[in-house]
Structures are given as C-alpha cells and as structure tokens.
C-alpha cells in the first residue's frame, strides 16, 4: 500500500505519481490522505491500480479515468469521473452536480445521492446511484446506462439519444423526447448485472425503463418550442 499525504506532498506530485504507473506496476494499491476537498484528485490515470481517497473531494475527482479503480471514502464534488473512459469510480457518500458527465465508459457508483445533471451527455458509461438524482440528469445522454435506485428530479433524459435509464422510484418529470419504455427480459438481464456491479441489493423488477422516443433525431420544425 502506497500512502500519499496530499496536503504535504501536493496535487501535482500526486497526479504525476499515479499517472506514471503502468500496467505492470507492483504498486497497485494507493491511499490518499488529507484530501480535504481538493480538486482534480487522481485525474488522467491509465493503469489497473486501486486508489482510495480518504475524505471528501472537490471538483473532477477521477476525471478521464482509464483502467483504475478509485474509491472515495466520503462525498465527491462536481464533475466526478467526468469523461471517464474505463475503470471504476465508487463514491461512498453523495456526489455533487454533473457526476459522470460525458463519460465514455467504465462504471460510476454513487452510494448516496447525486445532484443535478448526473450523467449529462453520457457517452457509454454505466452509472449506478443508490439514492436520488437531481434535475436534468442524463440530458442529451448518448449511450450507456443509468440506474437510479431512488427518485429522479425534473426533466429526466431531456433530448436523450440512446442511453438507457432505469429508475426505481418516482420521476418528477420527463424531459423532451424521453418516454417510459417496456422492460423486456434483456433489460432485466442488463439491470441485474448493473446492480450487482454497483453493490446494490435492489430488485430489477422494481424498476421502470426510460429512453428516447427518437422524435428529435432529425430536425423537424414541429418539434421546436
């Protein structure tokens, strides 16, 4: 286990050390102490290492992650795991706005609640939220899956493309072109896997599925408002 004191050693040294790890590294476990809400912790990683952040983080923790597993033992600030490509980011507490924004791949697990715009412009990531998500979540979601074990706020999936949304609780309102869709066996199968990976004991049968009505796919003046 490598322990890194962020307050004493500084952000640049932290990210340089983590970014220099390769797939063959034997320094596979890292613990970051004294995070104290710092921004841009563990960004741009590209190795199969495990990073544990003790305490809460500021903006963009785990940004553009590839391969690494990053666990925050606290809450995460805005933009956690933004544009993630692969790997896993797990937040034990809550996440602020735009968690998983534009992420292309990998898995983001939020054990608490997520704020507004969770999964905005998601492009292939799997996001599992144990609690609730705020308004405008999955706005313009292109692909990937979002699982909300609690409730969703206003305008869920506004202008959505091909992302799949699974919500167990209530949805305050659906955004433009987002509709409830049939939950077929293949969706139960997908959701079962997501819940398992997301360390959730929720039952797939309790969820509803939402996605695109595909009416905004090509410009039509009748859709303008």
């Amino acid at each position: 286990m490598q322990t890194f004191d962020l307050e004493a050693q500084g952000l640049r040294n932290l990210n340089a050390a983590l970014q220099s790890q390769t797939k063959d590294t034997n320094q596979t476990a890292w613990e970051i102490v004294n995070a104290k809400g710092s921004h841009a912790i563990a960004v741009g990683l590209d190795a199969p290492i495990e990073v544990t952040v003790k305490g809460s983080t500021g903006y963009y923790c785990g940004g553009m992650n590839k391969q690494a597993t990053i666990r925050v033992k606290g809450s995460a600030g805005p933009g956690v795991a933004e544009n993630m490509m692969s790997g896993t980011v797990i937040i034990d507490g809550d996440a602020s706005q735009y968690a998983g924004a534009t992420a292309n791949g990998g898995t983001l697990v939020i054990k608490g609640n997520a704020s507004s715009r969770c999964g905005i412009s998601m492009k292939g990531v799997d996001i599992i939220v144990h609690g609730n998500v705020g308004h405008m979540s999955a706005f313009m979601g292109q692909s990937g899956n979002m699982v909300v074990c609690g409730d969703a706020g206003d305008a869920l999936g506004d202008s959505i493309y091909e992302a799949r949304l699974f919500v167990r609780g209530t949805v305050k309102s659906l955004g433009a072109d987002c509709i409830e869709k049939e939950m077929r066996p293949e969706h139960i199968e997908i959701l079962t896997d997501l819940l398992e990976r997301g360390e959730s004991d929720a039952k797939p049968e309790e969820f509803k599925r939402y996605g695109s009505a595909r009416k905004l796919y090509n410009f039509d003046i009748d859709n303008a408002y």
Partner: protein, 447 residues
C-alpha cells in the same frame, strides 16, 4: 378629350431598401417552407472591417526598412504564461478549428500539410482528432468543446495545445448541428452516436457553469497533461472586455477571439447575421482587458473572423493581437467555392463564391462533405501546397507593410501606425480618423 399620358415621363421603379429583393425572396421562402434558413459560413452583411483602416507608412518622422532585404521577424510563441511547452510558430497565422464531419478527412489532411509547410498549427473541431490531421500537422491544437465528441485523454496528451471553446464568432451563445446526411459510419463512430441522425452540439459545457468552474476545469486539464500544454480559451466576439478578463482570471494561457465574420459549419442565417459583433469592434476591447490586468503579451491574443490576407493580419497585430487564425480563407485556398465547379454550383441553385449549404454534404469541391465520390475530387497534397502558398503570401504581405512602417518584427506594429477611414471604424478600433487626431470617445482629443 386628348390622352397625353402616352410618352410622358414616368416615375422610375425604385426597389425598397428595407424590402429588398433578397429580403422578399427570404420572406417567400419562409412562407413556403415554414422553416428558417440554415447555412454555413460567416456573416455576409457589410460590416466595418479592416478595409476601413489604413497604414501610415514611414516618411521623415518614422524610418522605414528596406523591403525584402532587412529582417522582419514573424515568429510567435504561444502559451508562455503557465505551459511547460509553449508553442512556437514561424508565422503569426494559424488555422482555426474546423471539425472532421463538417470537413472531409482529405481536407483535414490538406490543412495539416499546408500549415506544417508554413511552420504553423492547425486546430481540430467538434468531432475529435483524426489521424489525417494529427499525422500531417507538426503542431496541432485540440479543441475541448461542449459536445465533447471524440474527447479522450490519449488525444489530449498527443496534442500540442488545448483550446477550450466557450463560443465562436458566428454564433456566440449557440450550439451546433451536424445534420444527419453528413453522418457517415466513421463520423458516427467518432461521435458515439447512431449513423444518419442529427448530431446536436450543446451551447454550453455540460460540467461547468461559470468562470469559477472554468478555472477548476483548466486545473484538471493541466493536471491530466502534466502542465505541458498551453491552454487556449476561445470566445465569440460578444462582450470581449468581460469575457477576456474572465478567461485570464480563469488561467488561460491564450485567448482566442472570434468576430462575427467568423464561419460555422451550419447554423441559422438569422443567428449568423444578427448575433455578435464584427471583429474590428472586439480587438480593442480584448486588448484593453489584457492591459488592465497587466497581461498584454503575457497572455497571447489570437484574433479570427474574416481575416483574408496579409493586410488584415498586419492590422490585427497592430491593434494588439499576437496572431490571427483563418478558417474560411483557408477553405477557399484549398479550392472551396472555386469557379471551376460553377456548373455544379449552378445545379445546386447557387454560384461559386456564394455556396454555403455545407450541411447538405454535397460540396462539389469535395471539401465540406463526407460523400466518398465527392471527396475523391479533392487532392490533399495539392490542397496542402495551395494552403502553404497562401500562408506564405499572407506573411510576405504583412512583412512588406511592417517594413514600410519601420518594424523589424510583425509584433512591433502598433495602433499609431493606423488611421481609420470612417468614424465608425475609428470609434470601434479606437484609431484616429484619417487626417485628424480624434476618435469618438477618446478624452482630450478634438476633431
């Protein structure tokens, strides 16, 4: 009674300046179709521009340099504020961001070839980084756009600078729309969307909401790229003083300022013609912001939006820019809107020089298209040669003017080398009206 009206003088028909023929045609088109006009390019209306400024040249009070013989340097270094690896360009003319998707792969390759020969950089666009462009551009600026199409950390690390696009001159505040007919398999794959559907680019970044967030976003990008790459922030010419101030505060190494003559792949004509300000009105405000923050020349300023040649370049630099960027001019240099395709432009209902329906993907020149047959018409090697020639000419023209003003570096051009032909240009550019020491709004001067 005798009729005297025959042969009597008649009032000559007068077209209304308000309801002109083009205006009436657009009303009829809108009435027939129920949809606004979408097109590419920049503003076509007549605007105060660099044409309205003149250089004074040297006589007795200033000492000129010998044309072609005495040195007039053209190098520019961008990103000297924070970046560990600033970009050094041989000439202060760069290629503006234009997306793969809007442009064909061979067109992107040609831009890389021409810019590299001329010793300058190219810029990606909405749609990500192509191998054609990376492979042929010795220096490549990677745009970080609201859509984040094709954005990944590997490409961030193999670029030479990062340009965070907040706005563009043709549509400050607006997003983009690449219509379905240009979404080939490759474009769809790069953008992570189904083939053949419209691809909307958001008008705002999804994961930040203001200048304080931008500052932290810049920190994240620097951390991902080990603080090596210069970070540009591109703004549309709307509120240049405040936007430049906030970009500097957020930590930009370079500010890119794009006026309303700057082009777009496709957006509403009403937007292109009615939102934003001409670049002439923007440069002075951006320079004032840089000076007020004591950052002029420490944070570099790149100016774009209707730059057409060496004179425009020299005038922009004299007003305080460090470099200029060209987009539309580069496409024309490659061969777009060339009269050799006139018959085909006619078949599309337009004419060479006026073709702007780039979103339809039927560009006869094979440049703004994804149609494989049309793309074959364009030779990227020849296109690169032509662009290099054009960039060389721009530079030589600017040097010629600078020497006449007694300057041994293009950056030594200054506002005192210029006068304005019109009061509008004098007021916007903050340059004296020709023959006077006065411009509107300057205290202590008189007509």
């Amino acid at each position: 009674m005798k009729d005297d009206s025959k042969g009597a003088p008649r009032t000559v028909p007068i077209q209304s300046a308000t309801f002109s023929n083009p205006t009436n045609a657009e009303i009829r088109r809108a009435a027939a179709t129920g949809i606004y006009d979408i097109r590419g390019g920049g503003s076509k209306r007549s605007l105060p521009h660099f044409n309205d400024l003149l250089f004074l040249g040297a006589s007795i009070s200033r000492y000129p340099l010998e044309g072609y013989r005495e040195k007039c340097d053209t190098k520019v270094v961008l990103g000297t504020r924070f970046a560990r690896k600033p970009i050094e360009l041989d000439i202060p003319v760069t290629i503006a961001g234009m997306s793969f998707g809007a442009l064909s792969g061979p067109a992107k390759e040609a831009l890389g070839r021409g810019a590299t020969m001329a010793g300058t950089s190219t810029t990606t666009g909405d749609g990500g980084m192509t191998e054609e462009e990376r492979g042929h551009s010795s220096k490549l600026v990677y745009q970080y756009l609201p859509s984040r199409y094709g954005m990944n950390p590997d490409d961030l690390r193999r670029c030479d600078a990062i340009e965070i696009v907040v706005g563009q001159g043709a549509k400050p505040g607006g997003g983009g729309m690449l219509l379905g007919q240009k979404i080939s398999d490759r474009v769809a794959q790069m953008r992570n969307l189904p083939k053949g559907i419209d691809q909307r680019s958001a008008c705002r970044h999804p994961d930040w909401t203001g200048p304080d967030d931008l500052e932290i976003k810049i920190l994240e990008l620097r951390e991902i790229t080990a603080w090596e790459k210069p970070i540009y922030v591109k703004i549309g010419g709307a509120r240049p003083y405040f936007d430049t101030t906030l970009a500097i505060k957020a930590g930009a190494d370079v500010v890119v300022l794009d006026g309303m003559q700057g082009g777009t792949a496709a957006t509403q004509d009403v937007f292109i013609e009615n939102v934003g300000q001409p670049i002439l009105a923007c440069i002075g405000e951006a320079v004032r912001a840089l000076q007020d923050m004591d950052m002029h020349r420490e944070v570099q300023l790149i100016v774009s939006g209707g730059i057409r040649g060496g004179a425009d370049t020299a005038k922009a630099l004299a007003l305080g820019a460090d470099a200029v960027a060209i987009g539309t001019a580069a496409l024309i240099a490659l061969g777009d809107n060339d009269p050799r395709w006139e018959a085909e432009y006619n078949a599309l209902g337009t004419t060479a020089g006026a073709y702007d329906d780039w979103h339809e993907g039927r560009d006869p020149a094979g440049i703004t298209t994804q149609d494989p047959e049309l793309m074959k018409r364009f030779d990227p090697v020849e296109g690169g040669r032509r662009l290099n020639n054009f960039l060389k000419v721009m530079t030589l023209e600017a040097q010629t003017i600078a020497r006449a003003c007694g300057k041994n570096h293009l950056h030594n051009l200054e506002p005192e080398d210029l006068v304005a032909l019109t009061m509008e240009a004098a007021a916007m550019a903050k340059i004296p009206l020709a023959g006077t020491n006065w411009y509107p709004g300057k205290p202590g001067t008189s007509y």
